[in-house]
């Protein structure tokens, strides 16, 4: 009897890239839910716009590159890029901001470098950085978290939608009345004005241990991140090294002068710290690939994040820190090849 042949191994685990990405998307849901609780339905609209733009850009790029549309459109990677970018944008930002940022991320940061698996930079962070550099005013216009002391006005879903689509608030509202800086931004400005940490912290936008609202978003992200660790989608090296180095930097400076520098707990629960540690820096494509390499890569992100937040020109530094360390990945990979079985030294 004759048989067809195939190369060993003849069994493979039912793992797929799509399953991998689907789990990452599910793990983002707690963060998104808490975000909506504190900042209103803006995120949902931004996410929908981002996903639509990402899939359209992906489809266009795949068509141009003559790649199988269905196989790549359903892999979930474009959706993750879209969601991460949407989470970084102010909930009321105009539609063209999120659409152009996502399109830039997918078309230039991802496909111009060769598409899935080939991008040197984290696409979502490229999109965010481009927007931040080009439209700083729009990106720093945040809402205050929706808590009793801070609630000035509340936009309904429809009002939010029309604001995003038209770029104008409904008649009864004024931008300066409803916006507020983010806690990281406020801290920067206040410290720069000569306030002490304690004075700055008196503002109601600061919560129990981090920024009001932001501390809970970061905790929700931590839960999603722990789920990713438990499901072995990500490894511990990147989140531990990034948060660890952030804590070390913040602790040193805080010990040096608690009046002038925020403490470690504030840093890990503010801004995009948790999102960066569990969802952004862990993007395997643009991260270092060996265990030791990942420790070095993520420690670098932590140090750079702290540096940019404390002494740099932008309130949060995660995006630039990730992009800077992305550049260093080939070098890190080259010098962190693990020792091979039976060899005395590393190659």
């Amino acid at each position: 009897m004759e048989f067809p042949t195939s190369q060993p191994p003849h069994v493979v685990a039912p793992n797929t890239v799509a399953r991998f990405m689907r789990i990452v998307i599910y793990a983002l849901l707690p963060t998104m839910a808490v975000h909506v609780v504190f900042f209103g339905p803006g995120l949902l609209i931004q996410s929908a716009l981002a996903i639509a733009a990402a899939l359209a850009a992906e489809a266009l790029a795949l068509r141009l590159r003559k790649k199988p549309l269905r196989q790549y459109l359903t892999d979930g990677t474009a959706v993750i890029t879209a969601l991460l970018l949407a989470l970084c944008l102010p909930p009321l930002a105009p539609w063209w901001l999120v659409v152009s940022g996502t399109a830039f991320a997918i078309l230039l940061a991802k496909h111009a470098f060769g598409g899935l698996g080939m991008n040197i930079f984290n696409p979502a962070m490229v999109g965010y950085a481009v927007l931040l550099v080009s439209f700083p005013a729009q990106l720093l216009t945040w809402l205050p978290p929706d808590v009793p002391e801070l609630r000035t006005t509340e936009l309904s879903f429809w009002q939010t939608l029309t604001t995003i689509l038209t770029g104008h608030l409904p008649d009864a509202f004024r931008w300066d009345a409803i916006t507020s800086p983010t806690p990281l931004d406020a801290l920067r400005t206040n410290l720069a004005m000569g306030m002490t940490m304690q004075e700055a912290h008196a503002s109601p936008i600061f919560g129990g241990f981090g920024g009001r609202g932001w501390e809970w978003i970061n905790l929700a992200t931590l839960i999603g991140g722990i789920a990713l660790l438990a499901l072995r989608i990500i490894r511990w090296q990147i989140p531990v090294a990034m948060l660890g180095s952030l804590v070390v930097c913040a602790s040193i400076m805080y010990a040096f002068d608690p009046g002038a520098y925020a403490g470690p707990v504030f840093h890990v629960t503010s801004g995009a710290s948790m999102l960066g540690a569990f969802f952004i820096a862990t993007d395997p494509v643009s991260a270092a690939t060996s265990d030791r390499g990942r420790l070095i890569y993520a420690s670098g992100i932590g140090v750079l994040t702290y540096t940019i937040r404390t002494w740099g020109g932008y309130p949060d530094g995660v995006a630039f820190a990730v992009l800077l360390m992305n550049v260093a990945v080939p070098l890190i990979d080259r010098y962190t090849i693990p020792r091979i079985y039976g060899h005395a030294e590393r190659p």
Partner: protein, 486 residues
Amino acid sequence: MLQGNSARGGLRLEAHKERSTREPIAQASAPALAVLPLDQHAGHPAMPIVAIGDRVAIGQAIARPTGDVSAWLHAPVSGEVVGIEPRPSVTRDCMPAPSIVIASDARETRHPPERTIQDFLAVDPLELREWIGRGGIVGLGGAAFPISAKLATGAQAAELALLINGAECEPYISCDEMLMRERADDVLHGARILMHALQAREGIIALEDDAPLAAESLRAALAKIEDDRIRIQIVPTIYPSGGERQLIASVFGREVPFAGLPPDIGILCHNVSTAAAVARWVRDGEPVVSRVVTITGDGVERARNLEARLGTPVAQLIAECAGYTPRVERLLMGGTMMGMPLSTDEVAVVKGTNCIVAASAMDLQPRQPEMPCIRCGNCSEVCPAYLLPQQLHLNARAMDLAGLERYGLMDCIECGCCDYVCPSQIPLVARFREAKPRLAEHLRARDDARDSRLRYESRAARLQRLEAEQRARLEEKRRQARRKES
């Protein structure tokens, strides 16, 4: 000395051994026509010492080794040599290999044993090693490496530990487990013969924790012989813990150096079936003319282990297991992780045939469409050689030979763990197997170039030295002449 953090990497796989271990090992009937490829061991093929028309008996030598790494071949049936010709062979991907073909006369005449050794301790170790080499014994775990060559390297080492490998890590294969269960005495006797032949100080029989009946049987046999130099060690069932280098790491916590052999660190490893074959040959004078073969998979009706003569067609073994089921899709020699695909069942059992899997769709998990590598690192986490398959893949795609060398392509043991866990469904092992010959060629060429350069440099240095010496002599002569003149 390299200290491994015992064995790292590997996979916990479903064993699929229950079906084939329900029945005891059965004797398969002798083939009417035995086909015996001359290259059924690693190294140089054997050279026939019979001619067409010769009558042979079971156990009679029919081909002799050529060179240091080669093995004897013995007739598995009695009858007449009807051909010395190319026949499709599992040793060549079902393409023809030079073979001896014997038509059985069904009389089962046995060649009288030339020598049987009961008191092996009275035999000089060197003589015993040479005698073991005559039995046509090769590594029966599947690699078919001639035992004579292995014993020669092992004998060089002082303070040797003999490791008997019963860790049958590959899914579906159960011939070693059944052999340990039913013939533990042979395994231990063979181990003791090998220990004497090698003057080994200890013997360790290692097997996986999912074969408790085999362990029990070995313990009972060990209790009978009361040899306190031998111990039984249970290792966790993690594929590929039965790989020689992986087993050594997990048993001894040490690594075999790259480009070295286990005796370099004082260890020699033999499969349990090989040890049993040594016992049969030395004690009973019976060379390797048969072996236990697992016939299993959802594509065969009655999965079990058969003691099959060498040269038996796979089709006959399947028939003795009540034939194929309608679900059969593929035929594999070996297990599902490293098994070689067979394009036909009209090929014969050789010394290295440990298992035939008649696989249905239930046994196989076909790949999804391939996606690009996302560098997730699942592969490097399971690699038992501690490689970075994701980086090897990148370098193999670009055929960057320097990169492939740096990332240790030649250290890949092709176990398939990386393939198994890859979410992008990339056929990594196939890619690495493609790239290996290219890299090997490159390394050879580079070594050759280095050797020629060294030769040239030493020649230039020699010529320079000679010239200098000549000049010095000339100078000396002139000086003497001048002195005479003055």
